[in-house]
Symmetry: C2
Subunit: 121 residues, 2 copies
DNA sequence: TTGACATATTCCCATATAGGAATGTTATCG
DNA sequence: CGATAACATTCCTATATGGGAATATGTCAA
């Protein structure tokens, strides 16, 4: 399986770069599909599919206007993501913790340097 | 393709529920792989693979301690996600905007109710 | 060195899904 | 009604990847 159980939650929806693009584009005002197609340089069916995903997880609203369907970002839908990320906030904002961890590493000099990811702190 | 270009960025990493579980688990203190295996009820190879992904995108650090490898969340890695989500903050916190949108919808009563997603506002 | 433990990697399979092409659907207008 | 515009859906293909089994790698202890 390519991505477990909850295939369509907010986390999955924003994992796709094109969808993040669309969300930013539709943040300030509503736009018809054609305008989105032009803006993000993707064919219309693909855009419609992304919009469907975004709509299903509540990240965009849509209203019909004549022959057009106007989409707009529902910023509210981002809140779960924001709140989840906020859980980590006090850890990265804590200099003390970082110092503590540094000290622990100092006390364990027999570690191997990671070749994959270099520590940024 | 199952997920475009940047297959392994932070957004993709946290799109996986198991990995979010691991990140929370490793937030307060470092733990060896075996302990993670027990905690999240997943086989060891799968856990190792998730840890690899998390390490590659900088969401966990690792240090060796004897035969054990101790993993811990690098909260700092969540910041890009948090900052991205914050972009939307002023939109959901703005009551005024919501009222404005409500007014626009009132002026356009010929819309169809979405059967997929019900507006929560 | 041998054995045991801890972790990582490889191989395989099933599923999810992005994109493109073709087609279907819905609404407006003459 | 018929044509057209605007979207949505379906079908297809290629790729990504999660989980499990088997295997490999690495480290310590005796």
């Amino acid at each position: 399986m390519a991505r477990a159980a909850t295939t369509s939650d907010v986390f999955n929806a924003v994992a796709e770069p094109r969808r993040r693009q669309i969300l930013i584009l539709l943040l300030d005002r509503e736009r018809p599909v054609t305008e989105i197609v032009q803006a993000i340089r993707l064919d219309q069916p693909s855009v419609s599919k992304h919009l469907r995903v975004l709509h299903e997880v509540g990240l965009v609203r849509m209203r019909r206007n004549g022959r057009h369907k106007l989409y707009q970002t529902r910023a509210d839908g981002i809140r779960p993501l924001h709140e989840w990320a906020s859980t980590f906030e006090r850890y990265w904002s804590s200099q003390l913790l970082r110092v503590k961890q540094r000290a622990e590493q100092m006390a364990q000099p027999d570690q191997k340097k990671s070749t994959i990811h270099k520590e940024k702190e």
